[in-house]
Symmetry: D2
Subunit: 163 residues, 4 copies
């Protein structure tokens, strides 16, 4: 599609969007703007408005809960919780990888402990095992009120970056 | 934002988008159109262009692999593979739930067996255990060429829908 | 078999046992004595010389590592580590169950992080989620020198004891 | 202990054993005889009377369910089910390992789907992923009547045998 066609289709879509759709489209528009203006490492990060809070000692990632993270029951999709946790853990694992190596998730186990109903969800990360070629990390995902909605552990393998 | 402001911001964004961004925005636009015109059970389904192939005997779900499903390494994000698998399993579990009950994922374990590099990925679902109050399902996610990229099992609990 | 036959077969077995076998048989004999003289809740506990260290706040279980806990590679069998952890978690879960209810393990995920080579292994237990009908517990298994050899999480369901 | 002391303590133990204990001791005696007369790869295999049924295409392992495999609720201990499954999978993984390499379990996830009440339990094994340096296997554990009591998947790493 040419730029004109994209603009035209979007403008027509907005004309017939209901207020609820409009709010969601506005949210997505902001996500697209973020990625076009200041590209993050992935579109997913920009679209879901992922925020990272990283320090020497800890790492936390947060996403807002909204229409675009919901499942068909109208609550946070477990896959989105997993995406948040895997992103947080993966970032930590890559931070800890030796020079020239990347960390990839080989396995992840997650317990869903409460429905994800709230404004946003934050995943922290802790180290369970830091080996030469593999790593095991743990992560707890909590709502803004501190309620834990999921706990996960995952295995990472370090592979040469030339891969 | 008013409809005019949304349109205006989008139109300006398109002006400065590079060809790669434009292709991704076009993909997202189509996802938004799908949800506005014929709402699916979730925005996630429309945005990621989830297709369900369901019969008496089996259930498969497919999503295209693209910029919007990538992680920071430029391959399919493990969280997206998990979202696909959890959606497929959840749909199957709810199909099998008794009247008045919904199925929720209480735990999911996934093995990532190959990098998700390809055009699309499809998850099938099989029953491991069908109990009175709980269920265990298995799912294999494969690329269009048949290559398996993940295998997962998950626990579901049946809860009254009034919940 | 009559008592006399059992004694006779055992006595003949001891005659031809080599020193290494004799040491293991001695270990097993002590386990059998423990269960006959002061029955524990299970033969497994007595045979593997399981010790429980329980207080208001915490719970730990320890077993010696020996010939009878080894796998074919001559190190602690992963199944034995899992048995220890599941016993510790199960004891904790049942301690926390409401009157009239028992806790059963519905799922367990374990990461093996180092080979189990040492004198004994101890599993502690912590609560990840304490719900109305389910519980998620975590457990770390460590050698006597503090080296962690495994980390596990498990799901428990509370069921009426009449079951 | 000298051979005489071991014999003496055992003989006295038998004198005061009740019929139920005697039956269990008889079972253990047979396990000890098996290991002394024809050592298996591990004492665990002999004590729990593990049988392996292996062919070009498949691998199954069976253990009898008895007092010595029970948990405190009087049914098959989940740790024993896991030991059986891990043994079966580990045997398969080592069979498939390249010359000079051994396979070790790095992670195992198990779903317990029914109580282990019966005469014996058999675990079969299937390959989920066969990679260069890692492997994922699946296993179903069933009672003699075909009832599935557990399903597990596990990750294996191939390591040089010199390790």
């Amino acid at each position: 599609m040419s730029k004109e066609i994209v603009q035209d289709r979007f403008n027509k879509l907005i004309e017939r969007a209901n207020p609820s759709d409009l709010a969601t489209i506005e949210r997505l528009l902001k996500g697209i703007e973020r990625q076009v203006e200041e590209p993050k490492q992935s579109w997913l990060s920009s679209l879901f408005d992922l925020h990272t809070d990283i320090s020497e000692e800890s790492l936390k990632m947060t996403i807002p809960i909204s229409e675009i993270t919901h499942n068909s029951l109208g609550i946070l999709h477990g896959g989105m919780t997993t995406t948040l946790i895997d992103s947080a853990m993966g970032t930590m694992a890559n931070k800890l990888a030796k020079e020239g190596f990347a960390a990839v998730t080989t396995q992840l186990n997650i317990h869903f402990t409460a429905p994800g109903i709230g404004k946003n969800v934050t995943a922290d990360v802790h180290i369970i095992h830091h080996g030469q070629t593999t790593m095991v990390l743990g992560s707890s995902a909590k709502l803004e009120n501190g309620k834990q909605i999921a706990y996960a552990t995952a295995s990472f393998a370090f592979i040469p970056k030339s891969w």
